[in-house]
Subunit: 192 residues, 2 copies
Amino acid sequence: MGRVQAFETDEVVRSARAVFWEHGYEEASLPELERATGLSRSSIYHAFGSKRGLFDAAVASYLNEIIRPRLLPLNSPDVTEIAILDYFTTLRAALAQPDSQQSHHGCLLLNAAGAPIAHESAVSVAIAGYRQELKSSLSLGIAAHRPGIDDVARLQLATVLSSLVIAAMTLARIDKEQALATVDTALELLNN
Amino acid sequence: MGRVQAFETDEVVRSARAVFWEHGYEEASLPELERATGLSRSSIYHAFGSKRGLFDAAVASYLNEIIRPRLLPLNSPDVTEIAILDYFTTLRAALAQPDSQQSHHGCLLLNAAGAPIAHESAVSVAIAGYRQELKSSLSLGIAAHRPGIDDVARLQLATVLSSLVIAAMTLARIDKEQALATVDTALELLNN
DNA sequence: TATATAGTGGACTGACCGGTTCACAAAATG
DNA sequence: CATTTTGTGAACCGGTCAGTCCACTATATA
């Protein structure tokens, strides 16, 4: 029995995730990934197979650690009446925070949507799935927030709100004011 | 007096625009731009100064030839009651068309929003300006569509509709059904 | 000590990148 | 024909890329 793996895979993936989030898949270089993870390329290739393999792990990490925790309260069996308000308030706070990755780089997945990597089936499926998950979660939050709402109106509002999220994330690295104003519109719609 | 420039600058920029639209700034290579424009790199550099100079011209071309013509009816002094419905119907048709660039690649500017090039001030300013222009135009269309609407509601609806546009464009290269459904939601909101 | 595996560092492969240079050809005018 | 400008093609510069290879070191267990 030989040497045991010394690094934490999740920790390495988090570091790599930050690089992909900032630069995108294509512009994230091996030297930069080496620096961020603290591993040499031999170790990276041994653990993940390829740069693309590391990217796939980063996408999964992003969904599990950044996206889904924020959607959790909406997907809870006892989702509260204000869970959806909290979701947007939390999102707004994240976008407003001066030194957060969300604030500077928007959404890793939505950024990938506009990049060449989106042509990879697995990547576009992941992004499409994220959007559906977002809509579905918001729909549950809307139902809890407005118990009497009919299905058609609820799904429509879910489409609108998820689109406001996408727009805000897209604008995050372009114009902070417009991004925050977009989230504010979501909150206004919910408070009407 | 010597040789006259033989190529049409606008035509060259259109060809280059198609390459940047499909690949993004970073992944658009000089050889690919040479192939698409039919010019050698010497001529490209002579006419545009750099790859970035060509990209800037492509962005201007995109705004002037793709974006603004579609917003024109909304910005007209005698904007019709159904101009905004026409806008979304036309957008939907473009996204539904199997072999159009919009259908395959979404929006050149919004794709750039998630790319490293967005860190260039001039690029992010162009994207922020496009979003404001879109909102402003939609606001005019909303006013014509619903003459009695108050300012607050109109601006809110403009934010919502422009976000639906952004979401649809982002989803265009990811999931055609979701992209079209997003535009449908905009039309439903207007027909309520 | 032997065995087995993780991890490194750097050289290497083969390819490509944006941008520059320049001799030469093409084309327009005088 | 001379002059001037556009446009080409290819070599070149200096650099970078993802991925491979391998001798070597480190580490854990028996």
